[in-house]
């Protein structure tokens, strides 16, 4: 292609893509207006005044905290100083949904929803899965695709793509895992029916077991030393230490921490045996039942109906001719052949059937659940009585709005970022609470309810006072090498891929040989002291250990332990107040000369400038006349200490702790 032609071609591409982009932007704004229209219509019907729009600083703070999970830096706030026009406010939204902080804030959401922990039951190393999900968020992978890959990937999560760790998170608790999965993606609570018919919902225990058949299969991957390897080790105690196989077993256990984090190819058998304590008449302990979906898209694994043929053969057809009987038999045989074919096609493919079911258009819960979750995230209140729980839409509080946004979610092909951006572009997002008398059922529509910041929003906002750019703080890194007792056993991915293909015997030989090499100095030592395994230092909350340790700020302020879906809490405690008054917040921010806020103050000369800078950084606004006067008085009385006192007071104020 000639150079000039290439230029024209590129220009055409650019124009066409930017035209497409502009069309998309206009269309999305139109959608935002339609959502506003639905809300206004509802308010009008209930004779409620449409709420006014938030002031500039309230809008800015709300937009930052909602989209990227932290308050703006002083510099960011100053670059959006004029927010008086709808266009200028839209520019903030456009900026934030392309900001790196969005990925961080969404990662926290996904870690809460999907219960992503660095270590899971049985001490398995599980961060390969967390990193896969975080990667999917960075790529803005459509949510249905994320769900499908998590639900259908097999093999070792460290050797493959990480998604296959999803079903390996709860060793020996596969039923719990299934209940949590159904709730996370479909908003349906089935955990009661794991053990008994659920009298408060419509699920029978059989429903649960039929569903579990889709994902049934051997538990987590596992490789063990063969008996002969152990015996051999026991016979050589001088080589394998005084405890016989102790060291060998230790090495085996270490490898299994990684090797067990994944699921075998057999997973998803499509059938399951009823448990020993089956208490109902529709089955007996040990009966095999086949997979069947309890709601939404119909999908099942059906065994060929052999009985039908047996019944036909044993019946008396005296009135029919031989040919007629033959014909009828042929029809049944064909039917069974067809069933056999179908059975063969789906047998062992339970995970795919399950994944298809979850994200199917015929399973409406999927779109409704994720759209309601995104709504709550952006708009600050839930469309349902219970966050994340699917309800019959027609009977829900705001059926028209829910219906609309669920359709929009599908229209956007489950692009969560685009969806959230559209919601944040509504006027309703900018609304302030109306003070008129509104019934509780419509209260939320008449202005956003006040809510305490989440633990993560608080932590990430405090970082703004510590560092100039919180996004530049260190990030999590996926572990790549197997470090065991000071030895570098090699790259995790390759080693796990190798182990995955081994038989038990080959694995035993491998461990024995590896142990020999370690003893004989053939395995390299870890060169540098590895980076700290935990991430407790100053980083964005999404880059820290999951779950956080119990002595951390995030724990005190209610971060989820990530063992259940939506496990976080915003309840208050005395410890929270003490932490702000006297704890690390004082050490790392208020009294830290190197904290960004204090460095900035050092560059300012007049007390007023300093006071304004503190207010702008902590509360994203300028002080009122009265506040300024009180703070200047403080400076007159306590000199330089005043700035510490003002900063500390602002950080422990309701205005900082709550989102308007």
């Amino acid at each position: 292609m000639k150079k000039s032609k290439l230029l024209i071609y590129t220009a055409t591409l650019l124009i066409s893509s930017s035209v497409a982009c502009a069309v998309e932007i206009i269309s999305d704004l139109k959608k935002a207006r339609e959502i506003d229209h639905l809300i206004e219509k509802r308010l009008l019907k209930k004779s409620i005044k449409t709420p006014q729009l938030a002031s500039d600083h309230v809008f800015l703070r709300r937009a930052f905290l909602t989209a990227i999970g932290r308050i703006p830096t002083e510099q960011e706030a100053s670059s959006f100083s004029d927010l008086s026009t709808p266009r200028s406010r839209q520019q903030v939204i456009d900026y934030l949904y392309e900001h790196e902080g969005y990925d961080s804030h969404m990662s926290n959401w996904a870690m809460d929803l999907l219960r992503l922990r660095d270590r899971v039951g049985g001490n398995l190393e599980a961060s390969a899965l967390t990193e896969w999900v975080r990667g999917a968020i960075r790529e803005d992978k459509p949510w249905d695709q994320v769900a499908h890959e998590l639900l259908t990937s097999k093999g070792n999560a460290w050797a493959n793509n990480g998604a296959s760790g999803f079903f390996a998170m709860d060793p020996n608790m596969q039923n719990d895992n299934l209940s949590a999965t159904v709730f996370a993606f479909l908003g349906v609570k089935m955990e009661c029916s794991q053990c008994h018919d659920d009298p408060t919902q419509e699920w029978e225990r059989m429903d649960f077991y039929e569903l579990s058949a889709f994902v049934n299969g051997v538990d987590n991957l596992r490789k063990n030393l063969t008996n002969s390897a152990r015996e051999m080790a026991e016979k050589n105690p001088e080589k394998y230490d005084v405890k016989g196989v102790g060291q060998l077993r230790g090495l085996n256990q270490f490898l299994n921490k990684y090797n067990r984090f994944g699921i075998p190819q057999k997973k998803g058998s499509g059938d399951v045996k009823l448990p020993k304590d089956w208490q109902y008449e529709d089955g007996h302990p040990g009966d095999k039942v086949y997979a069947k979906t309890p709601f939404g898209m119909k999908s099942k694994v059906q065994v060929p109906n052999w009985k039908k043929l047996e019944q036909f053969n044993s019946a008396n057809y005296g009135a029919l001719s031989k040919d007629e009987v033959k014909m009828k038999r042929a029809v049944i045989q064909k039917e069974i052949q067809e069933q056999k074919k179908q059975f063969k096609a789906v047998k062992g493919k339970g995970l795919h059937l399950f994944g298809d079911w979850v994200i199917s258009d015929e399973t409406p819960q999927f779109a409704y659940t994720v759209s309601a979750r995104m709504w709550e995230r952006v708009m600050g209140f839930s469309l349902t009585d219970t966050l994340g729980q699917y309800e019959e839409v027609a009977e829900s509080k705001y059926p028209l709005i829910w219906e609309y946004i669920a359709q929009l979610m599908k229209e956007y092909d489950y692009d969560l970022k685009r969806f959230q951006k559209t919601l944040a572009s509504t006027k309703a997002f900018q609304a302030v609470k109306t003070t008129c008398n509104v019934k509780p059922s419509d209260e939320a529509l008449a202005g956003r309810p006040l809510a305490r910041l989440s633990a993560e929003q608080l932590w990430d906002s405090l970082l703004v006072m510590v560092t100039d750019d919180p996004e530049k703080l260190p990030k999590r890194e996926l572990r790549t090498s197997l470090h065991y007792k000071g030895f570098d056993l090699g790259p995790i991915k390759e080693t796990m891929a190798k182990i995955e293909t081994m038989s038990q015997e080959e694995y035993s030989d491998y461990v024995l040989a590896l142990y020999d090499d370690m003893v004989n100095g053939k395995v390299p030592k870890v060169k540098k002291k590895g980076k700290s395994k935990s991430y407790q230092n100053l980083r964005r909350s999404s880059e820290l250990t999951s779950p956080i340790s119990k002595d951390h700020f995030l724990y005190t302020f209610g971060q989820s332990g990530r063992s259940v879906t939506d496990g976080s809490t915003r309840e208050g405690s005395v410890s929270q107040a003490l932490l702000l008054y006297n704890g690390e917040v004082q050490k790392h921010i208020v009294h830290n000369k190197n904290a960004a806020l204090n460095r900035k103050l050092a560059t300012l000369s007049s007390p007023e400038e300093k006071i304004r800078s503190i207010f702008q950084t902590v509360l994203t606004r300028q002080p009122s006349g009265m506040e300024l006067a009180a703070c200047l008085q403080e400076v007159a009385e306590t000199k330089s200490k005043a700035y510490l006192n003002i900063t500390s007071a602002l950080i422990s104020s309701k205005e900082f702790l709550f989102l308007l």
Binding site: K433, V574, L619, A649
Partner: protein
């Protein structure tokens, strides 16, 4: 909910109809007293001083009843390698891993007929703490919050409800608000973390900070009145009270003799129990200490032995110490867990045991309960609560009873829903009065 089965009348429909009918009926008794509350009224009239405080030892993860306090020594298939040792209760044996506790068993009432329907940790722990199963529509207050709300405060500056190594969600005040949530202590040796001003902050500075914050808050409140924000912020006022408390030295374990600190054990749980004793001495109503790690799916017998090592000497020391100080009558010590473990030993999990809510054990001492008393029993395999089954609703009602509170008293949430310390009316939680002397 859409359902793709075209079955005719199914059990689900039958159940649903019954549930609706049941829920409708069950609302009525909540409006007034119940038979249970009458029983309590009668019980509290007797000559017994109510207990003042509770030390709630939370064995998180599901403590195996079969390998600790409810041994099935005649059934090797169930007991596995566990051996029994004699205790100070005639003819009663506990696991060989509990030699110290064995010596003080005569101070306890043992309830071997605990049972529940919840076999999952989170929900089970929630139930143990709150007498309700988690619902999506409300967050329930914990038992400590109920005690904090229903009992007059004895110490005016220390929080009435303190929890160590516990989960914030299970020890929260729920709809009662943050003022009835537990004050959480991470490491008992560190005491009440952050309770002291940093050295660089003078009292004058601290007061100035509070005053400035008040100014900002007043403006915020004027512009955005919110009961939820006020309720949340009440913990800040509580915190300033705690900071000034003269009883803060209750948190200073250095005041205890080294020998006693060693006897409690230097673990977080050990020192937590010592701190619990100091706190009830300082008139704190409800103290929880959690010992996790009881989820013995793998290597059950090795794991239980390790767990017992952490529990045994501490528990025995706590009981003896309380007794020697004359605190055992006024303090109810409870050893609780969310469920037991399966009688069958799972070979495929290296001799593990699974979750088993149908039968498990609680211990209770002090606060007026009988000494050396065994209440109820599980069946021969430890599979089901056989004689005098006790639910978690019953047990939490028993805590209320011990403290002279009405377990069936109905309080309404801000959303006007009725709740009781005994849990839902339909569960019929009733105090086990038989265990009281």
């Amino acid at each position: 909910m859409r359902y793709n089965s075209q079955d005719e009348i199914t059990r689900r429909q039958f159940l649903l109809q019954n549930a609706h009918a049941y829920l409708g009926v069950s609302l009525l008794p909540m409006l007034g007293g119940t038979i249970a509350s009458e029983a309590v009224a009668a019980g509290t009239e007797r000559n017994r001083k109510p207990a003042k405080s509770v030390i709630f030892l939370n064995m998180a993860g599901g403590m195996s009843h079969l390998d600790t306090f409810d041994l099935k020594l005649d059934n090797k298939e169930v007991s596995g390698p566990i051996e029994g040792i004699k205790t100070s209760i005639d003819g009663y044996f506990v696991s060989q891993y509990l030699p110290h506790t064995a010596k003080v068993m005569d101070r306890f009432s043992v309830i071997n007929s605990m049972n529940s329907k919840i076999g999952a940790h989170e929900q089970g722990q929630y139930l143990v703490h709150k007498s309700y199963v988690p619902r999506g529509t409300i967050v329930h207050p914990s038992i400590g919050s109920w005690v904090s709300r229903l009992s007059p405060r004895m110490n005016k500056t220390l929080p009435p409800y303190i929890a160590m190594n516990s989960n914030a969600k299970n020890t929260g005040g729920g709809w009662m608000g943050a003022s009835h949530s537990a004050a959480l202590i991470g490491d008992p040796q560190e005491g009440f973390e952050d309770v002291k001003r940093p050295k660089s902050v003078s009292e004058d500075d601290f007061q100035r900070r509070l005053k400035l914050a008040d100014m900002i808050n007043a403006k915020f409140h004027r512009e955005n009145p919110s009961k939820e924000a006020d309720s949340y912020y009440s913990v800040f006022e509580e915190a300033t009270k705690v900071m000034k408390s003269e009883d803060l030295e209750a948190f200073d374990l250095e005041k205890e003799p080294e020998q006693l600190r060693d006897a409690y054990g230097r673990s977080k749980f050990g020192q937590g129990c010592l701190l619990a004793r100091r706190l009830v001495e300082a008139d704190v109503r409800f103290v929880e200490v959690t010992l996790g790690g009881w989820d013995t799916h793998y290597d059950n017998f090795v794991s239980v032995e390790e767990q017992c090592l952490k529990l045994d000497q501490t528990l025995a020391t706590l009981i003896t110490d309380l007794e020697q100080r004359g605190l055992l009558d006024s303090t109810m010590v409870v050893l609780a867990t969310e469920f037991g473990r399966t009688p069958n030993i799972q070979k495929h999990n290296r001799d593990g045991r699974g979750h088993h809510p149908e039968a498990f054990t609680y211990l209770v001492a002090g606060g007026g309960v009988k000494r050396g008393f065994v209440y109820g029993s599980s069946d021969e395999q430890g599979k089901k609560a056989a004689d005098k089954p006790v639910t978690i609703f019953d047990f939490n009602s028993t805590i209320a009873y011990a403290l002279g509170l009405d377990h069936a008293e109905v309080l309404h949430s801000p959303s006007k829903r009725p709740f009781r310390m005994a849990g839902p009316d339909k569960e019929g939680g009733t105090p086990i009065t038989e265990i009281f002397a």
